[in-house]
Each structure stands twice: as structure tokens, then as C-alpha cells.
């Protein structure tokens, strides 16, 4: 230990690699967990009774995403699903069409997302217009040209003008603003701030010119009936589409539990990926440790010889140098955890106050444990070779060393 203290600046520089590595691992893990928690909260907000039916095949690889916009979900499917004899446990069903378009008001233009749905949207996503009203069943039935606008749409197109009753133009169609949604913040999974909501009938007929749907959002009667509902949906749609082999489904059903899982997996993969990149600096740090330990072993050859002369076994010497390496890396690890934790805390503040996402600072025991064990492991792995070199020295040659 005295040797570590003797070369203070050398020791400090050596552990810097470990400090940076552990700090970045902690930062990445903390931010990753924060993101995961944020997304999961959002998805869970949907409720566990919610089911989404999507066209195409369940994506298993990047090429499958092309299928997302297949036209397999039709009006007929919806009518079949609405029949109680087909799917008795469906409480409500909402078709959805969406797409990007440019909206015009006066001289202002804004690129936004059109969300074509029904009056049920308000209940499923818990939406309440800040001012004005929401869609009604009549609006849907009559293909009314009415629109509810998100907060950012309002700001960009209208500024200080009161939008209620004003008309915006999308794809040549004039839509009357009947409601304004409150600001939701960028943290929302379904961010309606940059969207406009219109009856799906209007969207199909006048905006997109399509007869199919991009989604069905379905609510089951209860959580218990969820599995039954999913089964009924699959059976009904397969019958409707004349599919016998489930592997050839041209649609897929996703429950919010699956959605949670999928998002969870995505954020975890991202976290692991970023953490692995951070781990490279740990590797570099480890090589630094090995280098400095080798130098230290050479410098202290006489000391090793002396210790052996007074009765140290090879194992004692090995232990001593290994311990020094591990102490070095653990000290580096602790400093790294402190720095990483403060950085993630600061970034959580930045995200909260400057981006406006309701971000919770998380620092899990796992991350701390991982940081400590990684640094200890690096000490052992990269300290072993120098320590072994030290332990194998012949005492008398070591004592003669200048």
C-alpha cells in the first residue's frame, strides 16, 4: 500500500480510466432505467384491458416493418368484431387511421400527424379538451369536417388567435376546429401535441383516400377476459380473411402487457449496448492498471525478494499485489459511481426542467453493485499477470536487483 501512496499522481492517473469507465456505465444505466420507467409508466397508463390489432405480420426483424402499412384490416372486420356472437367480451372497439400531412391556416403551415379515430379515443387515452368539445358519434357517422388540435399545432398555426371555430386546411379539405387539447409534454408515448384528431371516416374519405384501417384499438370487458378476447379476435379475423394457418396471419394482436414487454426489451437492449460501449473504456482502464502494476512490480523487485527472504510464500506475494490492484480499481470504481451518479442526477434535472419530461432520477442497487464488481473484476483480471510475475521471482535474484 505504501507504494501506491508514494506515487500519488501516477496512481491517480492510472485509476482515471476506471473512474471514467465506471462513471459512464453508471450514467448510461441510470438514464436507461429512467427512460424505461418513463415508457412503462406511459404504456401502463393505457390500462391492461387494452388490445391493439395491427395489420401485417408481427415484426421479427427490420424487413417486417414494411408490412406495417398493409391494408388487411377492413370495415368488414370491424363489423364482424362488433358482433357479440363473434367476440362477446369486447367492450369497445375503435378503428384508427393515421398519417403525416401538412396543415395550413392563413399563411402558417405546420407538418403534423393526423389521427383519425372515434369518440371513444377520449376514454381510451383519457383525453379531455382544454377548451371546446371532442368528437361525437354523429361526427363519425356524418364524416364531419371537424378537428381537435394538439397544443403545439395550436401554437404553430394560430399563435395568439383563438382557434375555436377557425378552419384549417389539410389536403384541400377544410376542417373546423372544435376543441383544443391541453399540453401533454414530449414524454408522452402517444404525443397528441403535434397531432390533430378527426373522425376516422373523414380521414379515410377525404384525407388518405383509403378504405382500410391502420389499427383497431379494442378494450376487453375485464382483465380476466383479456385472453378470451384476444382469441376471439384472432378467430374472427382469420375466418374473415380465410386464413387457416396461424403462421400466415396478415394481422397481429398486441396486448398492453406485450407492449410493455416490447418497450422494456428495446430500452434494455439500448442500455446494454450503450453500457458495452462504456465498458470499452473500462477495458482501456484495466490495461492501464496492468501496465502500472507491471512497473510497480519491477520497481519493487528488491522488496519482493526481501519479503520472500523473511518468509513470504509465492501466494503471499500474489495476494499482496492482487490486493493492491483490486484496491486501486475499487477506489476508482467508487469515485466513478459517485461521478456517474451526480452526472445522471444532473441530467435528470436538465431533462425535467429544460425538456419538460416528468423524468425520475433512478440509481439502482444493481448499477452500483455492477460498477463495484466490474471494477473489482478488472483489478483481479488485469492485476493477476503482474502479481504472478511478482510471485514467481527468485528471492536472491530479486534481492540483487538494482
Amino acid at each position: 500500500m505504501s507504494a501506491l501512496k508514494t506515487h500519488k499522481s501516477r496512481t491517480a492517473l492510472t485509476i482515471l480510466g476506471i473512474v471514467i469507465g465506471v462513471a459512464s456505465v453508471i450514467l448510461v444505466m441510470s438514464v436507461g432505467e429512467g427512460a424505461e420507467r418513463l415508457i412503462l409508466d406511459q404504456v401502463q397508463g393505457l390500462g391492461s384491458k387494452t388490445i391493439a390489432v395491427l395489420p401485417g405480420r408481427q415484426p421479427t426483424g427490420p424487413s417486417d416493418f414494411a408490412q406495417l402499412f398493409s391494408d388487411s384490416l377492413t370495415e368488414r372486420d370491424m363489423q364482424l368484431l362488433k358482433r357479440k356472437e363473434n367476440a362477446p367480451t369486447i367492450a369497445r372497439i375503435m378503428p384508427v387511421v393515421f398519417g403525416g400531412e401538412t396543415a395550413f391556416y392563413g399563411s402558417e403551415t405546420y407538418r403534423l400527424t393526423i389521427f383519425g379515430a372515434t369518440d371513444l379515443l377520449a376514454q381510451i387515452f383519457d383525453l379531455k379538451p382544454e377548451r371546446g368539445t371532442f368528437l361525437t358519434e354523429e361526427d363519425v357517422r356524418n364524416q364531419s369536417s371537424v378537428v381537435i388540435i394538439g397544443d403545439e399545432v395550436r401554437e404553430k398555426l394560430f399563435g395568439f388567435v383563438d382557434p375555436i371555430g377557425q378552419r384549417i386546411r389539410v389536403k384541400g379539405r377544410s376542417l373546423r376546429v372544435i376543441g383544443i387539447l391541453p399540453q401533454q409534454g414530449t414524454g408522452s408515448l402517444f404525443n397528441f401535441d403535434q397531432m390533430i384528431i378527426i373522425p376516422y371516416t373523414t380521414a379515410q374519405q377525404y384525407i388518405f383516400g383509403i378504405k382500410y384501417f391502420h389499427r383497431f384499438i379494442i378494450e376487453s370487458e375485464s382483465e380476466e377476459s383479456l385472453a378470451r378476447t384476444v382469441k376471439d379476435i384472432e378467430t374472427t379475423l382469420r375466418n374473415s380473411h380465410g386464413i387457416t394457418d396461424p403462421d400466415k396471419d396478415d394481422f397481429y394482436v398486441e396486448t398492453s402487457a406485450e407492449l410493455i414487454e416490447r418497450f422494456g426489451v428495446i430500452t434494455q437492449i439500448l442500455t446494454v449496448l450503450l453500457a458495452s460501449i462504456a465498458a470499452i473504456s473500462l477495458l482501456v482502464g484495466g490495461i492501464g492498471i496492468m501496465n502500472i502494476m507491471l512497473v510497480s512490480v519491477t520497481e519493487r523487485t528488491r522488496e519482493i525478494g526481501l519479503r520472500k527472504a523473511v518468509g513470504a510464500t509465492d501466494k503471499d506475494i500474489l495476494k499482496q499485489f492482487l490486493l493492491e490492484a483490486v484496491i486501486l480499481t475499487i477506489v476508482g470504481g467508487i469515485i466513478g459511481i459517485l461521478i456517474g451518479a451526480s452526472l445522471s442526477f444532473m441530467s435528470s434535472l436538465v431533462i425535467k426542467y429544460f425538456i419538460g419530461i416528468d423524468w425520475v432520477f433512478t440509481l439502482s442497487g444493481t448499477a452500483i453493485f455492477l460498477g463495484l464488481s466490474i471494477s473489482a473484476a478488472i483489478g483481479i483480471v488485469f492485476g493477476l499477470y503482474p502479481a504472478r510475475q511478482a510471485s514467481l521471482k527468485n528471492p536472491i535474484e530479486a534481492l540483487r536487483h538494482e
Binding site: S2, R307, A309, V310, A312, T313, D314, K315, D316, I396
Partner: protein
């Protein structure tokens, strides 16, 4: 039974395939409590012999019995343990840990012993008192004078109460006055404490503190004689 018994000991160094003999057919036995000096010019193999006797180096051929047991039969751990328990080493260049205190330096062999930690402080104090340096216990070793350093090294050699003391040119780096103090202490280890002392030196005067002197020449035993006019500690006779 002799404490140490060697027969036809050979040590050959091999560097790049070239064999250089350091010891050739050395036989010797040392009784417990004996004070033996090994003399000879540099390159005569005297240090090599001391290192082999002290388990610090291995030999090429021959036989070495310690307490009647052939040392080939000891495991590496046992050898380390014997070095720790039975042997004390004093080197020409002291070999103290320069940044450590006197206390820490003397404590070093205890770290590798079975002695319970609570006894360490007393053992260190006992050892430092026997070389008369109790007042330097907290000093950093690098701040001591040469003579003091060697006295600390002797205390370190004594802390485990060893049977044999090996001293390799202990006065080689010291002025004559400090050298004499060191030799007085070493002789007391033999006379007062009945320890076996094996001393390597090239100075005739120093060697005459011992009771028996062997001389080596070119790796072979040259002479083996009793000292008739021995220097005794406290002698005012200076070289």
C-alpha cells in the same frame, strides 16, 4: 546432531548454455550455537553458499540436511515457513522498506508468521530494544544512518526468534565504528543468546569475531579452522 550438514554441494549457473560453476564439492557441518565465518575473495562462492544455506537459492547437486532432514523433501510453503521461523537474514545493503517506519520494517516477518497479531507490538519492541534503537521506532527507515539501518535489519532478523542468523557482509556498507557496533551485536546473538550465526565477509578482522572460519577459493573449500584469538564484544581493538 549437526544443525546444518552439506555434502559435495555443487552450484552451477547456466547462462545462454554456458555453465559456470560457483560451488564445487563443498562439504561442511555446523553445530547448533556455532558462530561460523565464511571468507574468501569475491567470486569465491561464499555468498552463493550462504544463500543456499539460507534457502534463498537452490543447489545443482549434492545434499543439504537441516536438522537431519534433506531439504529436497520440503515443499515451497514449508521452505518459506522455515525461512520465516528458523532463519534471520542480515544483508550488506540492509534491504529495509525505505518509506516504511522502523516499526513496520521490523514487523515484516511477523506478517508471514503464525504469531497472533496482538503479540506483534511487544515482539517488535523487544527486538528493537536488543539493538538499542527503541527511540527510533517511529522513524521512516530512509531517515536513519547506515549503522542504524543495519541495527533495524538485525532487529527484523530477530523478531521471530530464529535459530540461525545469516549475515551477508553486514559491515560492508558501514564505516569502521558502526561496523564494530554491528559486529558486537551479532556476536552477542551467538554468545548471549546461543543462536547459530553464519557470517559472510571478506575482511579478516570481521571474520575473527567468529569462533570458526572457513575460506573458499574458486568454489572449493580452502581451509577450515578455529579462531584462536577471537575479538570479543567491547574490545577496544580497532582495525
Amino acid at each position: 546432531m549437526p544443525l546444518i550438514e552439506i555434502k559435495d554441494l555443487e552450484k552451477i549457473y547456466t547462462t545462454d548454455g554456458v555453465k559456470t560453476p560457483a560451488l564445487e564439492g563443498v562439504s561442511l557441518s555446523i553445530e547448533p550455537g556455532e558462530f561460523l565465518a565464511i571468507m574468501g575473495p569475491s567470486g569465491s562462492g561464499k555468498s552463493t553458499l550462504l544463500h543456499i544455506l539460507g534457502f534463498l537459492d537452490d543447489y545443482t547437486k549434492g545434499e543439504y540436511r537441516l536438522d537431519g532432514k534433506i531439504i529436497d523433501n520440503y515443499s515451497k510453503e514449508e521452505i518459506a515457513q522455515i525461512r520465516n521461523q528458523k532463519m534471520g537474514f542480515i544483508f550488506q545493503s540492509f534491504n529495509l522498506l525505505p518509506r516504511a517506519t522502523v516499526f513496520e520494517n521490523i514487523k515484516l516477518p511477523l506478517i508471514y508468521s503464525q504469531t497472533p497479531e496482538k503479540k506483534w507490538v511487544n515482539l517488535v519492541i523487544e527486538a528493537i530494544s536488543s539493538v538499542g534503537l527503541s527511540h527510533r521506532l517511529d522513524y521512516e527507515a530512509s531517515r536513519l544512518s547506515g549503522g542504524e539501518k543495519q541495527r533495524v535489519a538485525i532487529a527484523r532478523a530477530l523478531v521471530n526468534n530464529p535459530q540461525v542468523i545469516f549475515a551477508d557482509e553486514p559491515t560492508g556498507n558501514l564505516d569502521s565504528k558502526s561496523g564494530q557496533i554491528i559486529m558486537d551485536i551479532i556476536q552477542k546473538l551467538s554468545i548471549d543468546q546461543k543462536r547459530t550465526v553464519i557470517l559472510v565477509t571478506h575482511e579478516t578482522y570481521t571474520s575473527e569475531y567468529a569462533e570458526r572460519i572457513i575460506t573458499l577459493k574458486d568454489g572449493r573449500m580452502n581451509s577450515d579452522r578455529k579462531v584462536t584469538e577471537r575479538h570479543i564484544a567491547g574490545d577496544k581493538f580497532h582495525k
